[in-house]
């Protein structure tokens, strides 16, 4: 048991702040799985960013001389039914996955947290109505809601982002609301009100920054799921459309048809999805443990 510090100098001496530089090293040492996740994410981002330089072939160019070619020196992971290079399509596919994942998470988390904080801030009848509306959205399984939105907006990458963001909104709103309820009771919110600030300023400048931790956790956790959802939607033909390179799309149709003769078409894109989502999940878990010990799953 340490002696309780009596003076300010003693306090400073007793608890030296750890150097900031060590944060990353600390993270790697204490959370090896999280670091592995981060590594996968970095690798995926690099792939997406440099796709134009490192992909050996054009991902949408058909080569009818090399249809369903087995993995070889020319095509490391083989080619598909149109003679398109599987490796190149996987590399370009990381762009689609990241774009849809980040886009959906960003939109979903932004809208969700705004609704959540506003609902908590105004309270009373507004809160009640917002919560009931959220209940309605909760009654839809995630993929059904996403499918319904696709049915309305149509397919294509942009619409898929919105479709995947939609189920994210109520979930984020609910989590953020519960954190914001506590923040609302803080004296500084009262102070801001007493100073006569408008509602939007209090919500955006005073409350939102204080519920950033749960928002970040939700958004990261949702990234992996969004990539998976995009793959599922594309797989059933209601997501990103041909000839765009997308992992889920690569598993559709011919990949199943020719599974026996050309298994590389079915194996590698699925591996890419799993690895990508695995990375985001690992990182998200560790981030949650680090940021919010209350939600820890040990």
């Amino acid at each position: 048991m340490a002696v309780t510090p009596q003076t300010l100098e003693e306090l400073n001496r007793a608890a030296p702040l750890p150097p900031r530089r060590g944060a990353i090293i600390d993270f790697v040492r204490h959370r090896p799985l999280g670091a592995l996740g981060a590594l996968i994410i970095v690798a995926m981002t690099l792939l997406a960013a440099t796709a134009g330089w490192i992909a050996p072939y054009n991902p949408v160019e058909n080569d009818y001389a090399a249809m369903l070619a087995a993995p070889s020196a020319a095509h490391w992971l083989g080619t598909d039914a149109f003679g398109r290079d599987v490796l190149s399509r996987i590399i370009y596919g990381s762009r689609t996955a990241l774009m849809v994942g980040l886009g959906a998470s960003l939109i979903g988390a932004t809208l969700g947290s705004l609704i959540g904080v506003a609902s908590a801030y105004f309270g009373g009848r507004v809160d009640l109505v917002v919560q009931r509306v959220m209940d309605v959205f909760f009654a839809f399984p995630v993929i059904i809601l996403a499918l319904a939105v696709v049915a309305i907006l149509g397919t294509g990458a942009g619409n898929v982002i919105l479709a995947i963001a939609t189920p994210m909104v109520p979930r984020c709103a609910r989590v953020v609301r519960s954190s914001a309820l506590a923040v609302r009771e803080m004296p500084y919110v009262d102070a801001a009100r007493a100073s006569g600030f408008v509602h939007s300023r209090i919500i955006l400048r005073h409350m939102l920054p204080n519920v950033m931790a749960p928002i970040l956790i939700m958004a990261t956790a949702f990234l992996g799921e969004a990539i998976l959802l995009e793959a599922s939607l594309s797989f059933i033909g209601l997501g990103v459309q041909e000839p765009t390179a997308a992992w889920g799309l690569m598993l559709r149709g011919a990949a199943v048809e020719f599974a026996e003769t050309a298994p590389w078409m079915a194996i590698f894109p699925g591996l890419a999805i799993s690895l990508g989502v695995f990375g985001f999940n690992l990182f998200g878990d560790s981030l949650r443990d680090a940021l919010d010990p209350r939600l820890r799953t040990q």
């Binding site: 839809f140 993929i143 499918l147 199943v256």
Partner: protein
Amino acid sequence: MIPTLLGVAVLIFVLLRVVPGDVVEARYLTQGSQFQSQELMDQERAKLGLDQPLWKQFTMWMAGIVRFDFGLSMWTGSPISEEIKLRFALSLQLALMASLIAQLLAIPLGILAAVKQDTWVDYAVRVFSIAGLATPSFWLGILMILTMLIVFHWVPPMMFTPLWVNPWQNLEQLIWPALAVGYRYSAVGTRMMRSAMLEVLREDYIRTARAKGLWMKLILSRHALKNAILPVLTVMSLEFAFLLGGLVVTEQVFNLNGLGMLFVEAISHRDYTLTQALVLLVATFFLFVNFFVDIAYALIDPRIRYR
């Protein structure tokens, strides 16, 4: 529950209708005959009741629903209850099998990981469950079919055999999709089981039980599991959506003509009545599951009482 369902009904009704295009267009325009006369299309619309004002369409739909009459499918023209009945059995059986597999995997694995915390067993279970979350069930399905093709030269059958016709053939057909969905579904449960168990194992009464020399098996099954299972139940019921969602894509892979397949068809045909009925059905099902889980709490944990 009723207001939520009414909200669901209004939402899906409005959402479907704000988009340009309807079932008549989907039918005639995709058939390549763009020059279909406007008159004929209007006639078709009148036949389906699509020329009525929206509020009238909605009240008619609602009036049918309270009598459990879902109307006719706009695409096939046959009663929706018939369409759904054929496929509901398949999807429900698949969902139950997947759910059973998930529980059988999640509970023992979660307990094992918690008891052997921070050993290789624990790490193996955790990686297994995180991998389950990351692997798309449709890909797992493809891999299964692929393996069966190459090893046993087995091809997924074209027709579905109901349980009451040939139980063995039916189970043989459904076990693989059930495993593909169940594995993914189990991951959520495993993680929750592990963390809940870890928490409970640190409680005083567990230490007391150990101190008085009770068998570890008995402590786990009688003292710890009962207290740790509640959050697992919650999470698994909430994640039931995973299961239903997993079915939508898995049915495509295994060529099973279930509700998921029907839903995708209904959407692409812009079949309003069928889409509405399916969404409402799934939402009702989902709400009922949550409701029964609430009741199950009180049965498992006598401390919980509902007034």
